[in-house]
């Protein structure tokens, strides 16, 4: 038993060393650290008969789990179709925003389809396939005082949720605008409904969904800041899988698969008006 203990102790020392080793540069380590053995190639996936996909399990309506314990949503539509075209089963892994890159860097999933926004930093650590959705910031305001341009805000305050891209963007690019910050979606929503602020800035998908839910609100600014895209991602260097995904998505684009997926999963939330704003056919 003491031997076992010593093993555990040794493991602990090792773990401590590991932390120091990994702590430095996440991106640098990923770019150089992949020796090629980390991920599974297209042939290996086919042979195993199973595609492991990291998705969100709590981001309605993109990736969520319905009341019968089945995954559903816009991202899931693509996941199901890719697996079908590849002729394999799917194993879903529930990921969080913070660990998506890590899952690919360790090859614990083959593919991430978790509403993954393409950014230059992430592109250094993972390989993105063709985008299938647009995302930008949006600003919603009350019908009696629709804000269509940031200059109309004047002395009013804009509501943002702490830690979101909206907060970062406005702080950096429009420091003159007074912000009212809330920690959660629910408190920001209540504050806006009670007219504590003249407008509410958030991801455009969020504000569009909010404006469509109730009446009296208009999304005056649909796209603010840089227009980003959402794309599937594979482990850095997994070209066989990446090429196949791109090829298949291109075919899906020609049959307007993503419009159909929008109509099936997002239409109820965002309405038909935003279909062409949000959907990208690769």
């Amino acid at each position: 038993m003491f031997k076992k203990l010593l093993v555990i102790l040794a493991a602990c020392v090792l773990a401590a060393g590991l932390l120091v080793g990994c702590g430095g540069g996440n991106q640098g380590a990923a770019a150089s650290g992949n020796s090629g053995a980390i991920f599974r190639t297209l042939d290996e996936i086919k042979e195993s008969g199973k595609l492991v996909i990291g998705v969100f399990s709590d981001k309605y309506p993109f990736g969520y789990v319905d009341e019968n314990d089945n995954y559903a949503g816009y991202d899931i539509e693509l996941a199901e179709r890719l697996a079908q075209d590849l002729g394999v089963e799917i194993e879903y892994v529930s990921t969080e925003a913070a660990n998506r890159v890590e899952y690919l860097e360790t090859g614990k999933v083959d593919l991430i389809l978790a509403n993954f926004t393409v950014t230059p930093e992430r592109a250094e650590a993972v390989d993105f396939a063709s985008p299938y959705m647009n995302v930008a910031l949006g600003v919603v305001s009350h019908d009696d005082n629709v804000i269509t341009d940031l200059s109309q805000i004047g002395d009013g305050e804009v509501i943002v949720i702490t830690g979101t891209t909206a907060e970062t963007y406005l702080t950096e690019n429009n420091p003159e605008i007074k912000l009212q910050k809330y920690d959660t979606y629910a408190s920001a929503k209540t504050a806006f409904e009670n007219k504590n602020g003249v407008a509410w800035a958030n991801d455009n998908t969020e504000v569009i969904a909010f404006a469509n839910e109730g009446s009296g609100y208009t999304v005056g600014i649909e796209e603010l800041g840089s227009l980003d895209t959402i794309a599937p991602a594979v482990s850095k260097g997994n070209t066989t899988l990446l090429e196949w995904v791109n090829e298949d998505m291109h075919k899906l684009g020609q049959e307007k698969f993503f419009h159909a997926a929008y109509e099936k999963t997002l239409l109820g939330v965002y309405g038909a008006d935003y279909e062409d704003t949000l959907v990208v056919e690769p």
Partner: protein, 228 residues
């Protein structure tokens, strides 16, 4: 809106949601109970090890304990689950990673509790055991450990319940336990049942209570039984 909807409990009756929450609770409880079993056995041995006067033993136990104390459990989870793959090429399953981390933590903390309990046992108990002609192993088996275990109960119950509550972190390595199921239910219904956030977290509170309360009760009973 009816009362259930107002309390955000209506979502519990949709599909298999209630069963899913119970299933999630079972995942959390299963992982903590297995880890607790390892922690009790390992902690007992580690605690004895910590009382050794050998300087090497002291350094090792000190180092281990400090790592357990300083490292947040989330960091340990990431090190085992992701770091194990990165550095050693081991592909440890998420649930097993959780058990390893929780046992690692439990053995360290339990060991320190055991050490404290052992050291609090009056010297005359050891002397009396020696006077009876017991060897070292017999002394621990028949005198020291039975006495120490009684002093351990309150603190170790505390550790066990803390462990059960800390399982909410394991969603970060992809294990779908009760907290995650709750978030899934809340988010899947955020348009139709905005109050689900209160109802579901309320239910989760109740579930954690149901998991921890019997353990506290058991601890109280053992304490009373042995106090006599």
């Amino acid at each position: 809106m009816d009362l259930l909807g107002l309390l955000g409990l209506d979502v519990l009756f949709k599909g298999t949601n209630a069963l899913r929450l119970l299933g999630g609770l079972w995942v959390a409880v299963r992982i903590s109970l297995i880890s607790v079993a390892f922690s009790i056995v390992g902690g007992l041995l580690f605690g004895i090890f910590m009382t050794w006067k050998n300087p090497v033993a002291k350094i090792i136990s000190r180092l281990y304990l400090e790592v357990v104390r300083i490292m947040p459990q989330l960091v340990l989870l990431f090190i085992v689950f992701f770091g194990g793959t990165r550095a050693l090429g081991l592909n440890i399953d998420a649930e097993l990673s959780a058990i390893i981390v929780f046992s690692f933590w439990g053995i360290g903390e339990m060991g320190d509790l055991v050490r404290g309990a052992l050291e609090s046992i009056p010297k005359h108990q050891y002397e009396a055991a020696e006077a009876l002609g017991l060897n070292r192993a017999q002394m621990y088996r028949h005198v020291v450990i039975p006495l120490a275990v009684r002093r351990l109960i309150p603190m170790s119950i505390n550790l066990v319940t803390r462990m059960i509550k800390t399982t909410s972190l394991i969603m970060m390595i992809g294990v779908v336990e009760v907290m995650k199921v709750g978030q899934q239910i809340i988010e899947a219904n955020r348009m139709t049942s905005p109050n689900a956030v209160f109802g579901i977290y309320g239910i989760i509170l109740l579930l954690y209570f149901l998991a921890c309360w019997p353990i506290s009760k058991l601890g109280e009973r053992l304490e009373r039984k042995w106090a006599a």
